[in-house]
């Protein structure tokens, strides 16, 4: 009888561990960033010429970020900094079940120099930082 009770208890613990929704469920609620690059342009939803140095002559830079999964509709931000000063903050909406979003800035001569983009969620948590330079 005692043996049976112990076996039942172990079975319950194993099943509950397998189906415990606690922390796993919490992670799935937030979109997960799987790819983030800077590129010259987007072509057919794919980043064109990803890199870290872009000439000002190309006229624009694109920040591409892909999320999988996206459990529910979510908002992320692309914060563009030039030399530690926030230049622009772009709001992007992610749709389930997976989503890729990108933001673009137009380049001017005065934009030359080192840049960084912080990709954050709606709570301000930094998901990734991309660094690049605008050159001649």
């Amino acid at each position: 009888m005692r043996k049976h009770c112990l076996l039942c208890l172990l079975t319950v613990m194993l099943v509950s561990a397998l189906f415990d929704p606690g922390p796993l469920q919490g992670q799935i609620e937030k979109p997960i960033l799987v790819d983030a690059v800077l590129c010259e342009d987007m072509r057919d939803g794919v980043p064109l010429n990803p890199g870290v140095v872009f000439p000002v002559s190309i006229g624009k830079v694109v920040c591409y970020a892909a999320f999988d999964p996206v459990p529910r509709r979510a908002v992320i931000y692309h914060n563009w900094y030039r030399k530690d000063e926030l230049n622009t903050k772009i709001r992007l909406v992610l749709q389930p079940p997976r989503w890729a979003a990108y933001s673009t800035i137009q380049l001017r001569e005065v934009d030359k120099g080192p840049w960084r983009i912080e990709i954050t969620d709606d709570e301000g948590q930094v998901l990734d930082i991309l660094r690049f330079s605008i050159t001649d």
Partner: protein
């Protein structure tokens, strides 16, 4: 009255010490060199200095320039020409005689013996030449003397000048109560106004008297006359009493000894008073004379700062000081003699205001602070802290056509820096110096230096200033 009280209250103890010290030095110079030619020349130079000052203040350019030129070489002239006097003063037996004592002949010459001997020699028509030195050293003017060092006696003097004596032709030098040298050769005078009957002895006596402060006695072999030479004066003495008086005056003793002592004391007191008045005058002319104003821009120095705090901002780096004093003092003032020091000993992090007062300004003696512009300085201090920051490459230049730099990684990726907290809070990236991409045709690695901006940031101890950059270059897509 108020002005006098204000003036007296402005005198510092250093000023009193300054005047006393220099006044005493001047007085001692007088005591040590009085009666010598060096003293007379020193007086002449002092007069020249006054002349230069007056001509300068009157605007006599050439005169001032000319006198200044003479004064410039005067110091060398004094040392070269009067080296013997200077040496005799400095070679004193003890320091007391330089700093305190009054030079007196320690042993007096027995005047009466000399007088008796001279008149005896005259009666015997025996030629003689006797020198009694003054304060000056005779070694430069005389030569060929034979050391004698015998006590003065009538018999000795008579025997020295006895015609069969080998040394009778030269002069004898009497110092104190002894015959110091015999057979001494003296310089001859080239004066044209001397009587034709004067022989070599007379010319030698005149020559020595002209060039030194010594007294020379001559006994003429032909006429039996006694002649005394001192300075440029030569005279014949007929009475023993007259000769005694002349010798006593020369040696510095008098028949009325007390009167002489009193006179000397009065003379020294007058010299002391004049010395102190002169130095006071010079001091006044330097410190209170012409009230001139100048302005100087002086950098502010911050002292006693807590090592854990850093100055991150100050409203000014230099202050403009308006200083007053005599023109002579202000002309020679150099900016490094003036300091503005602000005490940060009790200051905490944050912005503090300091009013610059005369206590914060150190000036050379005799110079007064009139005003400070700006009178208040704001200084911001911050706590030194440490922060780890990511390193980013500052790319520049133009990539070769058709290529793109796809990836760059720095080693180390992050570095620690120290600096004021407020500044570090605003800094989130460390940048390298500019790295040019113009010739980057393929992947590779290079090193670059970290640029610390603002300059108050420093790499944490042990951190290296250069980073390695690994980069990848690819061809662009179609």
């Amino acid at each position: 009255m108020e002005k006098a009280i204000l003036f007296l209250s402005s005198i510092r103890w250093q000023d009193v010490l300054d005047i006393t010290l220099n006044g005493y030095i001047l007085f001692r110079l007088y005591v040590l060199f009085r009666g010598t030619n060096a003293f007379r020349v020193l007086m002449g130079i002092a007069l020249l200095w006054f002349l230069q000052r007056i001509s300068s203040s009157l605007g006599l350019v050439v005169t001032s320039w000319f006198v200044q030129g003479i004064l410039a070489v005067a110091a060398i002239i004094i040392i070269v020409v009067f080296r013997n006097e200077i040496r005799s003063v400095l070679q004193a037996k003890n320091l007391r005689s330089i700093f305190w004592g009054f030079p007196r002949p320690s042993v007096q010459t027995p005047v009466q013996i000399v007088v008796d001997s001279v008149f005896e020699l005259a009666r015997m028509r025996t030629g003689a030449l006797i020198v009694l030195p003054g304060n000056e050293d005779l070694s430069e003017a005389t030569h060929s003397g034979i050391r004698w060092r015998g006590l003065v006696s009538k018999e000795m003097i008579l025997s020295i000048f006895w015609p069969d004596n080998p040394v009778h032709d030269g002069a004898i030098v009497i110092q104190g109560n002894e015959v110091a040298e015999v057979g001494v050769i003296l310089p001859l005078s080239h004066r044209q106004d001397l009587p034709s009957y004067y022989g070599t002895r007379h010319r030698a006596a005149a020559g020595l008297a002209e060039t030194t402060d010594a007294l020379a006695l001559v006994v003429s072999e032909e006429r039996g006359n006694i002649t005394v030479a001192k300075g440029s004066e030569i005279r014949t003495v007929r009475e023993e009493g007259d000769l005694s008086k002349i010798l006593e005056e020369h040696i510095g003793i008098s028949t009325v000894q007390q009167k002489g002592m009193k006179k000397e004391k009065l003379e020294l007191a007058a010299a002391a008073l004049i010395s102190f008045l002169f130095i006071t005058g010079v001091w006044l002319s330097f410190t209170r004379g012409l009230d001139t104003l100048i302005t100087l821009d002086i950098p502010v120095e911050y002292m006693k700062r807590d090592p854990g705090l850093e100055i991150i901002d100050a409203s000014v780096n230099t202050v403009r000081l308006e200083l007053s004093g005599s023109g002579a003092l202000l002309k020679t003032i150099k900016p490094d003699q003036v300091k503005v020091q602000v005490d940060l000993g009790k200051v905490t992090a944050g912005t503090s205001s300091f009013t610059i007062t005369s206590r914060d300004v150190s000036l050379p003696p005799g110079v007064t602070l009139r005003s400070v512009r700006p009178p208040v300085i704001d200084v911001t201090l911050d706590v030194l802290t440490r922060k780890e920051l990511p390193v980013q490459v500052d790319w520049a230049g133009k990539m070769p056509p058709g290529l793109i730099l796809t990836e760059a990684k720095t080693t180390p990726e992050r570095m620690q820096v120290t600096g004021p907290k407020r500044i570090l809070d605003r800094v989130s990236t460390l940048y390298t110096e500019k790295v040019y991409v113009d010739n980057m045709e393929k992947s590779g690695a290079l090193t670059s230096q970290i640029v610390l901006n603002p300059a108050s940031l420093k790499l944490a101890p042990g951190g290296r200033e250069r980073v390695i950059i690994d980069y990848k270059v690819k061809e662009k897509g179609p």
